[in-house]
């Protein structure tokens, strides 16, 4: 059985979770692939703060990228996730990924956990 | 960009007329100074009855003397008030500040009669200023 979803209403800005229910982020952008002589295809969801800032103003995204490259030990580059990873759609969209194992995902979260949070006793593992 | 410019113009128009009458502002400064004198007197009455700790007396005297110094400067520099009134009121604030600092050094409330006298003079001046204003600005 198939169903339609509205790209803007039901995909853009929806929260994404991995197969264990961990939040990965939100669909900050949708990537369409243009094909010669054929209709465009929804190729991927884009997750990342730089994509988000670009929606407000492109200059914000450029400044944030430059500042991050200069000051942060972790890349803020957005991640593209193909729609083939869809598992379920409910309050959040569940994807067939494991956020802990996939190195592209939650880079800032993992860095902060490793270098700051876990240095404090009783902060959990 | 046009929306921001419109908002900025609206804000400028809205705030253009929103300055307090200078005489009223000056009266408020005098009332604030009188209020601090009243606060210290009340703290003294409560301290006599053992209802507030000595640490609070130190604290209120220290804060009151700092505020009095600040108010004295604001009053002395208040261009809209006549120079003779300004210097008289600033001098009263200076005397109050000196009393409070002396109290802070000894750790006790200064002479309350003196404090009340200065308070009443400051309130009297504030009332006279209010009386000189149109009806709706008087208390």
């Amino acid at each position: 059985m198939s169903a339609d979803i509205d790209l803007v209403r039901d995909l853009l800005d929806i929260r994404l979770c991995d197969r264990r229910g961990r939040a990965i982020g939100r669909v900050d952008g949708v990537v369409l692939r243009l094909r010669e002589g054929r209709p465009p295809l929804v190729a991927a969801m884009e997750v990342g703060v730089l994509t988000l800032l670009r929606r407000v103003h492109p200059a914000l995204s450029r400044w944030a990228r430059a500042a991050a490259a200069r000051w942060l030990p972790v890349s803020l580059a957005s991640v593209r996730l193909p729609l083939t990873l869809f598992r379920d759609v409910g309050v959040d969209i569940e994807l067939d990924v494991d956020a802990d194992r996939d190195r592209r995902l939650l880079r800032v979260e993992k860095w902060l956990r490793r270098h700051l949070v876990q240095k404090i006793p009783w902060s959990g593992q | 960009m046009r929306a921001w410019a419109a908002c900025a113009i609206a804000l400028a128009v809205l705030t253009a007329g929103c300055r307090r009458e200078p005489t009223l502002t000056y009266a408020h400064l005098l009332e604030r100074a009188a209020s601090w004198s009243a606060s210290v007197q009340f703290a003294g009455e409560l301290a006599d009855r053992g209802l507030v700790p000595r640490t609070y007396i130190h604290d209120v005297l220290a804060t009151a003397s700092e505020e009095m110094d600040s108010l004295r400067n604001q009053i002395a520099e208040f261009d809209a008030a006549p120079p003779s009134a300004r210097s008289k009121d600033a001098e009263m604030c200076a005397r109050l500040a000196a009393l409070l600092r002396a109290g802070e050094t000894t750790g006790s409330i200064p002479d309350r009669i003196h404090l009340r006298d200065l308070e009443q003079q400051l309130r009297g001046d504030a009332e006279r200023l209010r009386g000189s204003l149109p009806q709706e600005t008087r208390r």
Partner: protein, 404 residues
């Protein structure tokens, strides 16, 4: 029985958590300067916030979305970016006031400078957030906040003229000092209808996993809890009117107001004032620091929740840590907490329309609320509150110029 306990606890936490530096500071100034004539603004503010928290609680229980979550999905990030930015600024300012207020309570109690207390107070608040759970924070600190009922007892003991008190429940511009009157009215309304209360309440509803069966308890807690809480704020106005106003004490700083309870309670009065200020501020600081993390995490789709360990949600934990660090700066720089409070209340009302406005759409969206969308009363209430919010925002800057 379980529901009854839940409702009871909810009402207690609403009462205990109602008074904080904004509501205390504005109420003290209002009573000292204008006696009972600003009581109406406490009532209006309470009615507005009661409606707002009921709505956001309902949204969370039915849709399993917080207000921020639903705003991002419904309106998209570009529209949400500015209200989000405004609310973060407001939350940080009010958080700084609360940290300052709690530190000042310790200065009043011990005589040791506020600057010495700021760091330990902030560390204490941080530790409660880092190692505690939502339940401990929400229930524990708010129940301790019931100490603020001393203002109610004090007001009764002081035998106010109840006719004059009742007259203060209706708005009337005074003959003099109208600029200051409007300034204080805006401040009281800003303290009552704080945006953080709206977003924090809906986040709390998700933390506690509310369902549609919690809709009636939500309504009772929002209505009765907030009403009882506002009685405490009104009692502060009455106490200031009876103790400070007759002596010409204006309550321009907490040092001047600290003696407000000494007549009804003797030597306990001063201590009760310090404890009420301290606990009220710590409770609100916990909520505000969490709220900054909530709104950023929910907007960006991070893992969030006070019931999780910091290692499970590092970004969430680091954001409230950073917020607390920033909140120490004004007090360390020597800015008076009450002056900072009054300024932050004025800034709060500027952000209010952005947070409340989208509720007109959200609360009527069947995709989120199914059969529990707003009825006529709810819609009239939310539209009225949005109009009030815009009016307050328009008045905030002129009021600040004329009244401060």
């Amino acid at each position: 029985m379980k529901n009854l306990l839940k409702v009871g606890l909810g009402i207690l936490t609403s009462i205990g958590g109602f008074l904080e530096v904004g509501s205390l500071g504005t109420a003290l100034q209002a009573g000292a300067s204008f006696r009972y004539s600003l009581l109406w603004s406490v009532v209006v503010g309470t009615i507005c916030i009661a409606f707002l928290v009921e709505m956001t609680g309902r949204l969370a229980a039915v849709s399993h979305h917080t207000v921020v979550d639903a705003m991002r999905k419904r309106f998209g990030f570009p529209m949400q970016a500015w209200p989000l930015g405004a609310q973060i600024v407001v939350d940080l300012l009010v958080l700084a006031s609360e940290v300052g207020g709690a530190s000042l309570a310790l200065e009043l109690a011990t005589g040791i400078s506020i600057r010495v207390w700021v760091v330990p107070v902030t560390l204490f608040i941080w530790a409660l957030l880092w190692f505690g759970t939502f339940g401990t924070i929400e229930n524990g600190v708010a129940v301790l906040g019931l100490v603020t009922l001393c203002f109610v007892l004090g007001a009764i003991w002081l035998h106010p003229d109840w006719h004059a008190v009742r007259a203060g429940l209706l708005p009337q511009l005074p003959a003099a000092d109208r600029g200051e009157y409007v300034y204080l009215a805006v401040g009281i309304l800003g303290a009552s209808i704080s945006p953080y209360l709206v977003t924090f309440y809906s986040s709390g509803a998700i933390e506690e996993e509310w369902k549609t069966s919690d809709l009636m308890p939500n309504r009772i807690v929002a209505g009765i809890g907030m009403s009882f809480g506002s009685v405490v704020a009104m009692a502060v106005v009455v106490v200031a009117a009876l103790v400070l106003a007759p002596r010409g004490i204006r309550a321009d700083s907490y040092q001047q107001a600290a003696t407000a309870l000494s007549l009804p309670f003797g030597h306990w009065g001063f201590r009760l004032f310090c404890v009420s200020l301290g606990i009220g501020c710590v409770g609100a600081a916990l909520e505000l620091a969490l709220d900054v993390s909530y709104i950023i995490a929910q907007t960006l789709g991070w893992e969030w929740g006070e019931n999780k360990r910091p290692a499970e949600e590092a970004r969430f934990a680091i954001v409230y840590t950073g917020a607390l660090l920033l909140a120490t700066l004004p007090s360390l720089a020597g800015i008076d907490p009450l002056k900072l409070t009054m300024f932050s209340m004025a800034v709060t009302v500027l952000a209010l329309p952005f947070v409340v406005g989208p509720l007109i759409v959200l609360m009527n969206d069947k995709q989120y609320l199914k059969n529990h969308t707003n009825g006529v009363i709810g819609n009239v209430a939310v539209v009225t509150i949005v109009v009030v919010a815009f009016a307050l925002a328009a008045l905030a800057v002129p009021a600040q110029l004329m009244g401060s």
